[in-house]
Symmetry: D2
């Protein structure tokens, strides 16, 4: 089986990751890349300033970039990945879904909309069924599915594993890599020998998105989980890999052993990009570290370490590659689930 | 008034900070520096590899380094600052106190000993009265006073300010600078493009030391505070300045406004190295930042920002210069208090 | 004596350095700051995002920013410092000189123009006399004087010192700090764990500017020096301080001793911002280092080390603070010379 | 064909690279690892603190580490790679060669000895014939072959390519990664926001080793090349990859085009670890960059860019991975040549 796929906004940092992840993908064939009107008509290698440390796949370099408009995308494309700036995406993604395309989007717009599935396949695959509601309400032939923010994705699979104990409250401190802000997002003058203890909008995403992700679909809507999350988000001088310190409080008593067992037994899926196990637990207390561990499971695994009991619950660190598991890889995995479940 | 002071272990990184802080001090005159036997007899400028970005004060360069032994220290030295490695300090500091010297020590040994005052002047100056107990029990003429660990000092003044609301539980995530581990403590291969989510022994210090610091002296012993602290300590690629994300839960309701007022009104002291105010509150949510704010109040102030209410209490960031307020400056301030209160 | 001065383009990174250097200046009183029309009318503290690690001087924060136009600048301003983007400066600086203002500019436009003095006071103070030619040709009442590029300034004082030996050829490799590109000039994604071996336009400036600076003014024009410079410019992950490896070949034989003597004896001037000595020679082969030595002489001194003889001549390293001696401080020093020589 | 190989000193940073490079090698089977007596007898995974970002190969983790003594190494090992500290190597390597082992060594001792081949296979493979002289003089059954220092290897293949034009003089400035000093070689306090313009002994190696490498073997000795090299060596905050700025002066005229052609046509070899082409020439002036380009050709290729004509000759930048092409990979490639030429 081969599914023709395209990328909306393929010249930026996340777009380049999509290309890297789709190169040699067993199910997807990348045929189409869109970008701004200024790039349309150019060969991809001319349109993009390639910044990944492996070369542009030859056939991708030759692809002629198209305008980001349904009329410019071939009909035989079955699935679109979106890494558009959220402002653009809010305007453009509905045009594609209206035109019948299924869009698996990493852009932050509409993530919390009532009829848009926000999905991490190993956590809440059944939320895809919200697509029925979406199509009813919007009259779309296509579908719009979102993956959460990179800092949320790093933590939520671990919270899902602990929810057997009745998750009630979470404090989380993030140490986020500069690539999370995009190629030009953090200047060197800001971050060399420094930490920035604030990332605009990020803390709010970490408070709201987990409630939806951990919620349940009752056939007509997502009933949100009532976990209280308080987040403190920091930018640190690392290139890739978000590290997070988590304190979780649960209704039932939780021990280091029971937490580690829950992490180790977290659901895995039989999808091409799904890692097995989902969560790798480190015993060495100084792991995981961003530079050493961000690429485990080809950047799709969640690394956990430093599990300890505290007076109020459990404390641990988790790490994921923010532009793979946290962005492009998340959308690709959602795409694989959409195909598996018959939505594409 | 001028007090002759000496430094035990004056060639290392903290020793050099002591020299910098004592240069031009209004009350203290540095006359004596000790180091290992290998350095004894050399001029200081030959014995130390000076690594601070201001030059060695001329008169300090000429000081002849002495052995770290009471017999080698002049009798007219009234106060000794100690930055010895803790293993050495455990052995040597009692020899000096037995010989009648008052020692204000930054070394980590004996901090939690029942009869050793662990002091931050603005927080628990009255704990100095424990010296009476110490002298009774040990038969010393001198005295041994400790300041807490650098990561503890950064946070405890803010906790003390919140204790009016009945402090019950604290979660704290630290982003600590490499200088906290000493000049050779963190290799570049470990920390460039990386974070290390564990600092050996540090989390335990942050759990235990605040209970003693926030405790009360009942005339014979320190009654520990019952606050529960859970800490997650990270080393990040910054040179100086420990930044900490704190969540505090209190018995009484606490708001952003009441917390900020409590911080702004924290006790200040009339001592040469005591900053006024003790705590500087920033309104800009992306401050304080280590590189921009670590030297406020000559490195003795605590910077606070990002104050927010959470479902369980209050969340904020605090920052202090780890080798000034968190080490050498802390000992100097304790020395000033010892003089003020008549112990020297 | 007090001279009223203003800054054209005072909200950017170099503009902020101007403010820092002018605060407390013995001769200059900062009364006027201009910026883009969007900022005009605002208090400086509202108009600028202050990024220096010392606070905005109180009186500067209150200054009302003006438009960058002669009609908006008070007549009692005697001297203007310019840190405008070069494209803007090319258009605006002539309007101010025509209106009678003396402009000491750090902007890169017009540096190589035949009738514009390009000056490092300790090297070629007499080139200021070119102002007569400039006024004749352009019909200006004011004057336009430039300082060279930051990488050029670091090296040229050392070349001037060696010119007694008949300077013929120079190879220079630069290791330049990110601040040289402006606050937003180098993204963190480009430079963490990396070096960029190219800085657009920089190599050319290092080839051409020294010929003019080391040239002689014959009463009507600058006769350029015939030294051949070949430069290789690298951006490295340092915040401030350009370090340069230099190989110099001279007509006469040169030794380590004679070179070091020439450096130590380089001309100094009796101006408020002029360091004495101009060049500090380090014997320790691993100095100067950017972080340790960039602020010697308040950032105005040139640090030299690693002097060695080679088969073809002499080899050494030099370092200067790129935004002080290499930018704002250079313009201020030129301003002081302009006053001293009666042009203001 | 399969050759049993061992590593002398296999637990350190270069030892770990040897293991990584030998894993899956088409000709070599790693059977033996030696280390200090303290490690002997332990499983490799217990003896080494593994710091590479790919896991220890399973079979290597199980290898029982042996003492670094010929009596403890099995007789069926045909080839030994050495990454011993040079002080140890000077003592131990001769014991192995005397016992009949062929040793391909990365250690810096004896590189300039008259009867020890110093080899980069693509540059001076015929120098291996010096082994005959070595065996005659020392009475060894085995052989000792060295690869040059990491900073030398990066540059010499490019110099060899230019020697058709009659290489006379070279100025080279290096920007070297911290890994070149070993895992603990550069502390973070030294190098964050800094450059160190001196690496002990390094400049001398870059002056002397090229003369031997570019020399010719006349049947009894190496006749050294008379090129004059002057080097300035800098440590910069990069993890891997030495970047070098080179100025080369030749007897015959050289142009950008002829230099680039010479680089592109440099000799390649048909050995498993030999890259093809040897030298990759970049047209984009801001390449090669350490982080983006250090792994081209699996870390064995030399990257060249920024080729420009200068008044005195040619200027360019070159880059190689210092612990692969510059250390472990260099020894492995020498081992492959030793096998190909029948010395093993």
């Amino acid at each position: 089986m081969s599914v023709n796929v395209g990328i909306l906004g393929g010249t930026g940092a996340v777009g380049q990751r999509f290309i890297q992840l789709l190169d040699g993908h067993p199910e997807f064939e990348l045929t189409t890349i869109t970008a701004s009107d200024a790039s349309a008509g150019k060969a991809y290698r001319e349109a993009a300033k390639w910044r990944i440390d492996s070369p542009i796949p030859e056939y991708v370099g030759d692809i002629e970039v198209r305008a980001t408009d349904p009329s410019d995308v071939p009909d035989d494309v079955d699935l679109l990945f979106s890494s558009l700036p959220s402002g653009v995406a809010a305007d453009v993604e509905p045009k594609f879904t209206e035109a019948g395309y299924v869009v698996s989007s990493n852009s932050s717009n509409s993530r919390m909309a009532d009829d848009v599935p926000l999905v991490i396949p190993e956590v809440n695959a059944d939320h895809l069924n919200l697509i029925e509601v979406q199509r009813d309400e919007r009259g779309w032939d296509g579908a719009l599915v979102k993956n959460p923010n990179c800092s949320t994705i790093t933590m939520v699979p671990t919270l899902a594993a602990l929810d057997n104990f009745g998750l009630e409250r979470v404090h989380v401190s993030t140490l986020q890599a500069v690539s999370g802000a995009g190629y030009d997002g953090v200047t060197s003058m800001e971050i060399i020998d420094n930490v920035i203890p604030h990332i605009g909008g990020e803390e709010d995403k970490m408070v709201t998105e987990p409630k939806k992700l951990l919620g349940s679909f009752d056939g007509s809507e997502i009933v949100q989980h009532d976990v209280d999350v308080a987040a403190s988000c920091n930018r640190v001088p690392t290139l890739d890999g978000h590290l997070e310190n988590v304190w979780a409080e649960t209704a039932e008593e939780i021990t280091k052993a029971s937490a580690e067992a829950a992490f180790a037994e977290a659901t895995t899926l039989d999808l091409p990009s799904a890692p097995d196990p989902l969560i790798e637990v480190f015993e060495d207390p100084d792991r995981p570290q961003p530079r050493l561990d961000r690429t485990i499971g080809d950047g799709m695994q969640i690394a956990v370490g430093g599990v300890q009991e505290t007076p109020a619950g459990i404390q641990y660190n988790c790490l994921a590659h923010n532009t793979i598991r946290g962005a492009a890889g998340a959308s690709v995995l959602n795409g694989e689930l959409l195909v598996e479940d018959g939505w594409v």
